[in-house]
Symmetry: C2
Subunit: 369 residues, 2 copies
């Protein structure tokens, strides 16, 4: 017989999941109710309202996809693209590449604007690409989790709207840890994940769509290729006058994000963003004093995800293995071209604390000498 | 500020979610670990092995989709169908219709075999349709949650294989409550849901694919239209020698199904199926003694979902509302053509008990006189 679960108490300092507050774990263990229970409808309404505050938006169509951030990404593309449409995707890491993969699966024409991994995408290159094309959407990653780059959005947003396109943004890692101003920045479609700076368990993806995006969805000629991610039905479940059954809402997970969002808003967005920035600076100073170098130039570093170069002479897997097995600390490996060369240290949500920083720096000193 | 969650303690006797054991709620509240943590990989392996026992299969490709049962449905279709393929779908309720919708979204040619709602699909009609077509897959719902019909599968399975097609089965409501013999019955692709007879919270979909289905997936000419549900990547995360990152696994939900599957196997499949059948008979006798009539003929009734006709002169919404508000008991409304005419009473997993039956029958007597 399989034994009862007994997971170790890990210190989660990778690219997500981040540590969750005991209040969030406790919320998940609350009594299950039905997915059409009036009490659950109220919980969904509260989650929507709190998600709007976090996204800094008035968007009516703001809800939570019943699957992880990658499903949120797919939701945005499959609802806005139809076969034959053009989509311009800015790529500077794994998640930009994933967007391209999804665009092609939509039967849309892909236009790529690439930047070297570890740098942001240059607005001038986006402008150039927009002059030669006529995309329906322009997509970009706000916080590229694979490289630790924070992508400035405002200048590109303006170009996108001048070109008459919709602006689609990946905020999986940024939301809840750094400002994400959906309305001010003119973002038309955005998705995030529950397990990063919101500090809920993985499994949910908050999304939001502007009225303009909604118009585009409402004037589709073809059905959305994914039944599960079809916003025309999901929004009737999340926002319809009579809540229509679509799929069975993931009750316990919604409990968890409800409590996590309450914690985010109790702290306050500005304070939370300052905490993430301050802790990033403290970690940075500590790492630099030990001789580590950052992958990303100072102006474009994410506060919640620190990509550092593994010093010559040290083995990636051995050191991460020792951190996990001897200290219960998880940090992230490099992805793609940075595999074996870079570590990704997360300071997300509950994991963005002085104690986390001190545990990690002390352990690294003890292991690396 | 939004207040802390305080859901009522409901008695869940609808079409799912069912009640969950406190051990399952407790498992969800266990410390979060990373989705690539060796401890989590072991947990995934244990879940896979337990799911194989429940599906009664040796299928190597047996895993859990990180979304609800409807996403499991979509997973089976999008991985097996390519544009232009033919798919034959047997329809006798909401979930057969949902299959048709997904087939069309795959760009496949749909052939329908319909049966009146409340009856099973006639194998002779399937045979007739197979003689006039050449489908790649034949799909059918084992337990039609919208009508309470148990569909016999063995005779149809033989026809499907004689015709050289793959046999795709919806076992969302049946798995864990009545025998589902994937290998013996020659099922090539099957999906279920966590929140019915497995009695875990909603949010996960166990799936399994036969070696023949795997061959079909491996010889695709086009990419699977859904990135999130692409089994060629999901299986590398769930079963690859080196577990490759695809999406972030929903850790806490996997904890919940791990514990729920342990409980299922502790009871033993045969005993569990007997319990579901016996409790269905006791509920049936009680309801019939009160004058209720079943929608479905005796030979085809589901043990875990009892569809009964609402007697003339009683208002659907008022009585369900009183059950919920005065007794905390949830039962299911009718769907589609049965809205307002039928109630669906679930006796699934933890909700299949003498006490549940007695609570409901007593409450109905008190309300309906």
């Amino acid at each position: 017989m399989v034994k009862e679960l007994n997971p170790s108490i890990r210190v989660l300092m990778g690219p997500g999941p981040s540590d969750v507050h005991p209040r969030v774990l406790k919320a998940m263990a609350k009594p299950l109710i039905g997915h059409l229970d009036p009490q659950f409808i109220q919980i969904m309404d509260e989650v929507k309202e709190m998600a709007r505050q976090l996204f800094q938006t008035e968007n009516q169509i703001t809800s939570v996809i019943s699957a992880t951030g990658s499903a949120g990404m797919e939701t945005c593309f499959v609802n806005l693209l139809e076969p034959g449409d053009e989509a311009l995707v800015c790529v500077s890491g794994v998640f930009g590449n994933r967007m391209c993969d999804i665009v092609e699966r939509c039967g849309a024409k892909l236009i790529r604007v690439d930047a070297p991994w570890g740098t942001p995408v240059d607005p001038a290159k986006v402008k150039e690409a927009l002059e030669k094309s006529n995309p329906k959407i322009v997509a970009i990653v706000h916080a590229e989790t694979s490289t630790g780059v924070l992508q400035p959005l405002e200048e590109i947003s303006k170009m996108v709207h001048d070109a008459g396109a919709l602006f689609l943004v990946d905020a999986v890692t940024s939301l809840g840890g750094t400002p994400v101003k959906v309305d001010t920045w003119g973002i038309d479609a955005i998705y995030s994940g529950s397990q990063k700076c919101i500090s809920a368990p993985p499994g949910l993806s908050p999304v939001s769509f502007s009225p303009k995006a909604l118009e585009v969805m409402d004037s589709r000629k073809t059905k959305v290729q994914s039944w599960y991610l079809d916003m025309s039905m999901i929004r009737n479940y999340w926002a319809g006058a009579k809540r229509a059954y679509h799929h069975t809402g993931p009750i316990s997970m919604i409990y968890s994000i409800h409590e996590a969002l309450r914690i985010v808003l109790e702290e306050g967005l500005e304070k939370r963003f300052e905490r993430h920035l301050r802790n990033h600076q403290i970690l940075r100073d500590g790492l630099e004093s030990m001789g580590f170098e950052f992958l990303v130039a100072p102006d474009y570093r994410l506060p919640m995800l620190n990509a550092i170069k593994i010093p010559a002479g040290f083995d990636d897997a051995i050191i991460r293995g020792r951190l996990l097995n001897e200290y219960n600390i998880e940090i992230g490996a490099g992805l793609g071209e940075f595999a074996g060369k870079v570590w990704r240290i997360g300071l997300m949500g509950e994991s963005s604390s002085l104690n986390h920083i001190n545990m990690l720096l002390s352990a690294l000193r003890q292991i690396m000498g």
